[in-house]
Amino acid sequence: MGKKREVQEINASSMADIAFLLLIFFLVTTSMATDKGLLRVLPAPMPKDKEVVEEEVKIKERNILQILVNSNDELMVNGQPMDISKLREKAKEFIVNPNNSEELPEKEIINVDYFGNVGVTKSHVISLLNDRGTSYQVYLSVQNELVAAYNELRDEMCRKKLSMSLEDLAKSKDEKDKDKYDVLAKKVYPMKISEAEPKSYGKEGGN
């Protein structure tokens, strides 16, 4: 009676159980954040009322890089079979036309902000056509190589004229840098990858 009673400690042994329960709940309901992707923009739909009218856009042959992927996942670039590992270099050469060749797109010198006089191939088009039987991985790899070609060119230009990498420029919060990036992406090396209107070749995976 005379003894001083100690304040009882709260029993914390169930704390572990509670924490485990929470842990398991989160493990089950969540997934690792891996949502990265290749961003692309689709063209607007064709007007429905004039479906039959074939588009009569004349593009000079030298301005087109025609890429075909067949159902065996083989590549054909401008009529010649090609390995996917060489596509990036081919695309880069096509976009820049470094030697002002007659075979490659028309080049003209324009003056843009921040970059000064640059030679651009305004009217080049990379046309991509795939079969219904092409596998997705190959299709995406082709898209990836093309985007990579543009990104590498932009990066080279960035390093040469602004002495910073494209990554830094894209990440920069500065208004001026954003402007520079826009000029680079829209005027110097605009991305022109066009996908042909799909045609059906009959059976799935066939042809």
Binding site: A12, S13, M15, A16, I18, A19, F20, L22, L23, F26, L27, T29, T30, S31, M32, A33, T34, D35, K36, G37, L38, L39, R40, V41, L42, P43, A44, P45, S85, N130, D131, R132, G133, T134, S135, Y136, Q137, Y139, L140, S141, Q143, N144, V147, A148, N151, P198, E204, G205
Partner: protein, 158 residues
């Protein structure tokens, strides 16, 4: 003798588990921060393709998801083994259903965000392009033009 008994009678003290909650909480916070809530329960098997030029999805609220792959084992009997589209928690019967799904998704978004909607296509890497082309056409018709092909980062070795 007494000494012997004394030694044998001594019990090992229980290992203190007082730090166990701390350890588990640490794990808990780790998983809470590194993971995200699953959007839906996947009904299709998926292996993401590989690519290098990837962009991270910044604003989750702008991203809507669409899954394509072969049905998981428990659904194979009912839905077959061909590639199927999963919208929310159900299989779509036809690629044209995507159009309606997108407009439904769009109406749930804030008006200011509607134009910035990004459709993330989570597609198994072995899928044939046929079904994907159909889906892309449906997306075009629904004016969901910004798309992202979800992929995993490939380690560049050349």
């Amino acid at each position: 003798m007494a000494k012997f008994r004394k030694g044998g009678g001594r019990k090992l003290g229980a290992i203190s588990t007082a730090s166990l909650p701390d350890i588990v909480f640490m794990l808990l916070f780790f998983f809470m921060t590194t993971t995200t809530m699953k959007e839906v329960t996947l009904k299709v098997d998926q292996k993401m393709p590989e690519a290098t030029e990837l962009t991270k999805m910044e604003k989750k609220s702008l991203v809507k998801y669409l899954y394509i792959g072969t049905p998981k084992r428990e659904f194979k009997k009912a839905f077959g083994t061909g590639s199927r589209i999963q919208l929310d928690d159900a299989f779509a019967n036809d690629p044209s259903e995507v159009e309606e799904y997108i407009s439904r998704q769009r109406s749930t978004m804030k008006e200011a965000d509607q134009g910035q909607m990004i459709v993330s296509l989570k597609i198994d890497k072995d899928t044939k392009m046929g079904i994907i082309t159909d889906v892309k056409q449906a997306l075009r018709n629904a004016y969901a033009l910004k798309i992202s092909y979800t992929a995993t980062q490939k380690v560049n070795n050349y």
